[in-house]
C-alpha cells in the first residue's frame, strides 16, 4: 500500500505543523466540544506520526501500531457516545488537509498520488468503523448483563437479615444470578435470614415455584432461613389452584411482615419510641 502512494504525498506530510494543524482544526470543528482540542491533537498527532512512518519507509511495525492506535481511538470514541461515522469522518478529514496543500502547490504528480493516498485513508477510516461496531456490541452486552444484575439486587435489611426483591420474570438465567448473588452475600455477611420478596413478579407458575424452592433449599444448606414475602392475593389463589406447596417455608403477605418475623426470630425487640 505504502509504496503506491508516492513520494510527493510523503513530502507534503513532512510539513507536519501545517498539515497536522489543519487536520486537528477540521476534526475539532466536527466533535463540537465533546473532546478538547488538546485531546484531539494528542490523538491525531500519534496517528500522523505513524501514517508518515508507514508511508515513507514502508515500516511494517508502524503499520501494526497504526492499526492498534486507530482501534484505541475508535473504542474510546464509542464509549464517549460518538457515532461510528463521526469517528470515521475524523480520519477522512486527513484527506482534506492534504488535498488543500496540493491545491496550494497545484501539481499533476501530486494529484495522481493523492488518489492512492485517498484510498489508503479510506481503509484506515473503515477500520475504525469495524472496531466501533464491535465495541458497541460489547457495550450493549455489558449493559444487558448489568440490567440482569440490577434487577436482582441483594440488600442488607438488618444485621443478619438480607432482602432479595425480585422484579419481573423469574427465568432460569435470572434464578441463577439471584441464587449466586444471594449465596455469595450469605457467605460475606453470615446472615441468618433472607427475605425473598416477590411483589414484583407478575405470575408464579410451576417453573418460578421450582426456582424459588431451589434457592430456598440452597440457602438452607448454608444455615439460612428464607422467608417469602409479597405474595399478592391473586398470586396466592393461583398458587393454591395450581397445587404448589411451599412446605414448611415461611411466607408473609408483605415485606414489612417478613422483616418483623425475622427480627422477632433473631431476638430483636422493636419498641415504640418514648417521645412518640
Amino acid at each position: 500500500m505504502s509504496g503506491a502512494v508516492g513520494t510527493r504525498i510523503s513530502e507534503i506530510l513532512e510539513d507536519r505543523e501545517a498539515v497536522l494543524g489543519r487536520w486537528v482544526e477540521l476534526v475539532t470543528e466536527g466533535v463540537r466540544g465533546r473532546i478538547t482540542e488538546r485531546e484531539v491533537r494528542t490523538e491525531l498527532g500519534e496517528l500522523y506520526g505513524l501514517v508518515q512512518r508507514e508511508l515513507a519507509d514502508g515500516d511494517e511495525s508502524a503499520a501494526g501500531e497504526l492499526r492498534a492506535a486507530l482501534q484505541e481511538i475508535s473504542r474510546s470514541r464509542a464509549r464517549q457516545g460518538f457515532s461510528p461515522s463521526e469517528t470515521a469522518v475524523s480520519v477522512f478529514a486527513l484527506k482534506q488537509a492534504v488535498h488543500e496543500r496540493i491545491g496550494a502547490a497545484g501539481e499533476e504528480t501530486a494529484y495522481a498520488q493523492f488518489i492512492a493516498f485517498s484510498g489508503y485513508v479510506d481503509e484506515l477510516g473503515l477500520m475504525t468503523f469495524e472496531t466501533y461496531s464491535a465495541t458497541r456490541e460489547q457495550v450493549i452486552a455489558d449493559q444487558a448483563e448489568q440490567l440482569l444484575e440490577l434487577a436482582t439486587p441483594v440488600v442488607k435489611l438488618w444485621d443478619g437479615i438480607l432482602g432479595v426483591p425480585l422484579v419481573g420474570t423469574l427465568d432460569s438465567a435470572r434464578t441463577q444470578v439471584v441464587m449466586e448473588t444471594l449465596l455469595q452475600m450469605l457467605v460475606d455477611t453470615g446472615s441468618q435470614f433472607a427475605v425473598i420478596d416477590i411483589t414484583g413478579v407478575p405470575a408464579v407458575d410451576t417453573e418460578v415455584a421450582q426456582h424459588l424452592l431451589k434457592t430456598v433449599m440452597a440457602a438452607r444448606l448454608m444455615g439460612t432461613e428464607c422467608v417469602i414475602s409479597g405474595i399478592r392475593p391473586q398470586i396466592a389463589q393461583t398458587i393454591v389452584t395450581l397445587g404448589i406447596e411451599f412446605g414448611d417455608i415461611v411466607t408473609k403477605a408483605s415485606l414489612a411482615d417478613a422483616l418483623a418475623y425475622a427480627l422477632a426470630a433473631s431476638g430483636v425487640r422493636l419498641v415504640e419510641g418514648a417521645g412518640a
Partner: protein
C-alpha cells in the same frame, strides 16, 4: 361469535413463553377478566406453553377473544405441537407425575385454573391443548 383470530405466536424458546404470557394478559384484560382470573389464565398459559416447548419440541399458541351464546366475553388459547404426543393421558393428568424434572403440576393445574380444558393427543401425531376462561 369470535373476534378476528390473531396470528399464532410461535413457541420455540423461553422468550416465546414470555411473549405468549404477555399476549394472553392483554387479551384477558381486554375481555374484562378480573385481576384474579387474568392471573389464572396467564399462569395456565405459561404452563401449557412450556409443555409445548419442552415436551412438544416447540409449536405455537393461538390466542383469541371469544363470546358465548349469552354474550359473555372470554379468552381462548389453543396450543399446538407436532411432538411425540402423550401415550398415557390419565398418567399425564395425574397430579405430581412428570416424565421430566418438573413438579408434574402443569396440566392438572392448567385444567383447574381454567373454565374449559380440552386435550387432544396422539402418539406420534402431536398434542393440542385448548383452554378457555370466561369473564364473570
Amino acid at each position: 361469535m369470535t373476534a378476528p383470530p390473531q396470528e399464532p405466536v410461535p413457541i420455540t424458546s423461553g422468550d416465546d413463553v414470555v411473549r405468549v404470557r404477555q399476549a394472553v394478559r392483554t387479551a384477558a384484560a381486554a375481555a374484562g377478566l378480573s385481576l384474579v382470573d387474568q392471573t389464572k389464565i396467564v399462569t395456565a398459559a405459561s404452563e401449557l406453553a412450556r409443555n409445548t416447548l419442552v415436551y412438544g419440541g416447540g409449536g405455537h399458541a393461538r390466542v383469541e377473544r371469544v363470546t358465548d351464546a349469552r354474550g359473555r366475553a372470554g379468552v381462548r388459547i389453543a396450543f399446538g405441537d407436532d411432538g411425540p404426543g402423550i401415550p398415557d393421558i390419565d398418567l399425564a393428568l395425574t397430579e405430581g407425575w412428570t416424565s421430566g424434572s418438573g413438579l408434574g403440576l402443569g396440566l392438572t393445574g392448567a385444567r383447574r385454573l381454567t373454565d374449559e380444558f380440552h386435550l387432544d393427543t396422539e402418539v406420534g401425531g402431536g398434542t393440542t391443548v385448548t383452554v378457555t376462561k370466561w369473564a364473570r
